[in-house]
Amino acid sequence: MVEGSGERAAARYKRVDIVVALIFLAFGAVVAFDSWRVGAKWGDDGPQTGYFPFYIGLIICLSSIVNLFKGFAIRPERDGVFVKVGQLKLVLSVLLPTMVYVGLISWLGIYLASTLFVAFFMRWLGKYQWWKVVLLSVGNSVFFFLIFEAWFMIPLPKGPLESALGLG
């Protein structure tokens, strides 16, 4: 990941800065618009529901316009790399499995999903031997099960495995 294409810029600072400022602008506009819809004026009983958030939305718009101009004003020679291809690959290699993991929690329960998640990480990124992978990933979930379900009595999401074992 160090040599060759990995060092190429996947995104430059200026472009990301401008895009984020635009997202802020859109967000501020949505906030201000919806606040105006629910009433941002001075009612008979004092300030209306949207009064405070309306001005929040306006300030977001104004400050993001300043940020937008500042973003455009970045000269090419001062425009650094936001993220390199290699770095982005690494970040995504963690972010995407994490999203799969969060999705799995709803139907596998948090314990089984966590076991698979930790095992995947250790095997794929850490290249650990299988017995270590199994020991640690299962041990991790058993540990959290004991802490939360047995000790603190706080139920976490459970799935088919726990019901099959009669724990859920």
Binding site: M1, Y13, V16, D17, V20, F24, F27, G28, V31, D34, S35, V38, W42, D45, G46, P47, T49, G50, Y51, F52, P53, I56, G57, I59, I60, S63, N67, K70, F82, V83, Q87, L90, V91, V94, L95, T98, M99, Y101, V102, I105, S106, I110, S114, F117, V118, F120, F121, M122, L125, G126, Y128, L136, N140, F144, F148, F152, I154, P155, L156, P157
Partner: protein, 506 residues
């Protein structure tokens, strides 16, 4: 001196073998909770609250129960600093400011000094705050009772303007980030009238966004993603803390007596008025940076930059219990959880508590002195234990931290959606940090947004929309004026710098 007599009585109550045992258990649990990112003082105390139900049933049990819970809180206050300094991951929102100089110190191989400085200043800050609680609770109660909505709003305004004035980041990025937090806090039910707003038909967001989810995502997940860019090599710094390092650091610390006093004062004030530990730590860091002769070196690993936020955070965290006990108004989220505990045990916080539950109140106050001594002993001796965590490779610790974050996010409201929100906040934290949008004002605005809005609107209701209410007396006028001055500070410095350049050119 009535207070001394009451305090001695309190010591007699707190100093039983059982209470001291619970003190150490609480502190140890608290440090572990504080060290684990995602598990913090507020939800840590909330998770452990059910354990105290049976404990509070026996006579005198409520004192033991509050000692256990408050010691978890002290432990979390101490523990937050450990991950800030070693991992650059703040375990608690109030230890964010500790990362600014704590982590560079650790990178320079001075982790032991940074930890000792942080623990000692935490202890000093707490001690000052407990003394304040002991002697000023009756007087402060009277003072704060006169606070109306305009005064509260002025305090919030001061905090947020201080962010813009003191922040290293671009003022408009700070402003955008802060206002994003306010907007997220405004989502859901209007705190004054109960009307829905900004929900766009999603019933899941009726209660708005919880700052804990934001903290777990922005700092926990975001930090893991940033760390990954550097490859899978582990980023934590090793900690060596031994008697020699402790003594050396203790010899250095008296140099910063002025910073300590200033930070403790800021902390006590911000804790008593519901500002909280987090803004106190930032304000105190900013103030120390402005006034220190080494101010420009702040952020590169200055011991003074660890002393300031830690003293203030711990002072504020402790002082936050003062309004909770005397008025029933919590000064911090954790104080709010403790307040919930008191109510469950059948105690009504407020001025009457001091008359009717003398044993409980003074037992608790005495335990604050003892609990912080216990805390200092535990953290100074147990750091090698936490340093062992650092030797675990990143490909193991990263998924485990992710799992803990997911569990932490879920347990806040038992909501699966919160885990997704946490991931979204994580990506946001990653991008914002790279574009130098500051994260702390964002989190703080989510925490205080509803309360700031409520006090603003109540003030507006009383004054019938007249803004001059924020200048109606010396107290509120002074705070508002200072806030506006801080808000304009970046502009003033820019103008001054331009003038100076012009003069030099001429």
């Amino acid at each position: 001196m009535d207070e001394i007599q009451s305090l001695m009585h309190g010591f007699a109550i707190a100093l039983t073998l059982k209470n001291i045992a619970f003190m150490f258990v609480g502190v140890l649990l608290g440090v572990i909770i504080g060290v684990l990112p995602g598990l913090g003082g507020a939800n840590g105390v909330a998770i452990l609250l059910p354990l105290t139900f049976s404990m509070a049933q026996v006579p005198g049990g409520t004192t033991t129960a509050i000692i256990l819970l408050s010691c978890i809180y002290w432990g979390a206050l101490f523990g937050g600093a450990i991950t800030s300094i070693l991992f650059n991951i703040p375990g608690e929102p109030w230890s964010v400011a500790t990362t600014f100089d704590g982590y560079p110190l650790a990178q320079k191989g001075r982790a032991g000094a940074a930890l000792t400085a942080s623990f000692t200043s935490s202890f000093v800050g707490a001690l000052v705050a407990v003394i304040v609680i002991t002697f000023l609770s009756p007087r402060v109660a009277k003072f704060a009772l006169e606070f109306g909505p305009p005064e509260f709003f002025a305090v919030y305004l001061l905090t947020f303007c201080a962010f813009i004035g003191m922040s290293k980041e671009a003022p408009f990025k700070t402003l955008a980030s802060m206002m994003l937090g306010f907007a997220l806090a405004a989502v859901g039910t209007d705190p004054v009238t109960g009307t829905l707003r900004l929900t766009f038909g999603f019933t899941q967001v009726l209660n708005g966004f919880d700052f804990l989810i934001a903290v777990i995502g922005l700092f926990g997940i975001g930090e893991i993603l940033l760390t990954l860019e550097e490859g899978l090599a582990f980023q934590g710094e090793s900690a060596k803390i031994n008697f020699k390092v402790v003594m050396e650091t203790w010899r250095e610390l008296p140099k910063y007596w002025l910073t300590s006093i200033r930070s403790a004062a800021v902390g006590c004030f911000m804790g008593i008025v519901p500002g909280g530990a987090t803004p106190a730590s930032f304000m105190s860091y900013g103030v120390a940076q402005r006034f220190s002769k080494d101010g420009e070196k702040f952020g590169t690993g200055m011991v003074e930059g660890v002393v300031a936020p830690e003293t203030a955070a711990h002072a504020a965290g402790t002082a936050a219990l003062l309004p909770m006990l005397t008025l029933g108004v919590p000064g911090s989220p954790t104080a709010a959880v403790l307040l919930g505990g008191l109510l469950i045990w059948g105690l009504q916080p407020g001025p009457l508590l001091f008359l009717e539950q003398k044993d409980f109140v003074w037992g608790l106050i005495a335990s604050m002195y003892l609990g912080n001594i216990a805390g200092l002993i535990v953290v100074l001796t147990c750091v090698p234990l936490f340093a062992a965590i650092l030797r675990i490779p990143f490909s193991v610790i990263a998924p485990v931290i992710m799992v803990i974050c997911a569990i932490g996010a879920y347990t806040v409201h038992n909501s699966h959606l919160d885990i997704w929100l946490m991931v979204v906040f994580g990506v946001m934290g990653y991008v914002f940090k790279k574009l130098s949008y500051p994260l702390a004002p964002l989190v703080l605005a989510i925490v205080l947004g509803d309360r700031a809005e409520a006090s603003f609107r109540q003030a507006m209701l009383v004054s019938e929309g007249d803004m001059s209410v924020f200048f109606s007396n010396a107290l509120v006028g002074g705070m508002t004026g200072l806030a506006l001055f801080l808000l304009c500070w970046p502009l003033l410095t820019a103008v001054l710098a331009a003038l100076r350049n012009k003069l030099r050119g001429a």
